[in-house]
Symmetry: C2
Subunit: 107 residues, 2 copies
DNA sequence: GAGTTGTGATACCTTTTGGTATCTCTTTTC
DNA sequence: GAAAAGAGATACCAAAAGGTATCACAACTC
């Protein structure tokens, strides 16, 4: 369930174009055509990327007349961040160990 | 450069098997055979996953006799976490807005 | 030193992915 | 209401991804 959503989110983030799209949408909401204007590919290709981002719950789409506005979603990246959070303690530990090992080496 | 490494890290995290491997290695270091024992696939397939994790700087490998021990790397996930961190302000803002909107709706 | 065990490397197959081209539908605009 | 503009849907193609099978190599064990 949520597991599946998380998988979709991770998959969505795997493509550099999609991460760029997220960065764009972080600045302001955009229609498909506006997003496509920033890339050297067809609108259809951009639409596919947006669909994948939508599947990962990373963006939401709102109809506005004949255009559709895409915006970031506040909860999508959270599930990814939460997964990474499980490793926080580990990283802090290891980085601290590394730091002290280096300091020991300097002396 | 670092951009490329980040791309490899995101790509490495896109596969659920690889995320499981990271979770396993967070508990303790393991040889390839040990990791493969946790999955229903050939050792060769697991080796491929480990190579991709290695490309993303998420694990490191140390030769020990005729075995090779795989361990988590303290800096790999950091680059992913840092990228996500750029959105933190945005998410907090949006989530707060969502929360107040809901509260307003209840009243 | 011969057999066994843990890995690495390669070739190959199937499915998924990223992309284009094209057609249709809906909503403006005149 | 007819033409134009924004977007969705589908078919199709090339490349990448995930997997197996198989061979070669290094290092223990006896």
């Amino acid at each position: 369930m949520t597991q599946d959503l998380q998988q979709h989110a991770f998959r969505a983030l795997a493509d550099p174009t999609r991460r760029q799209i997220l960065a764009l949408l972080a600045q302001r909401e955009m229609t498909i055509a506006e997003v496509a204007g920033h890339f050297d590919m067809t609108r259809a290709a951009v639409k596919k990327h947006l669909s994948i981002l939508h599947d990962g719950a990373l963006i939401e789409t709102r109809a506005e007349g004949r255009t559709r506005v895409n915006a970031l979603r506040p909860d999508g990246l959270k599930s990814v961040a939460n997964w990474l959070g499980a490793f926080d303690i580990f990283w802090d530990e290891r980085l601290a160990a590394l730091k002290s090992a280096i300091e020991k080496d300097i002396q």
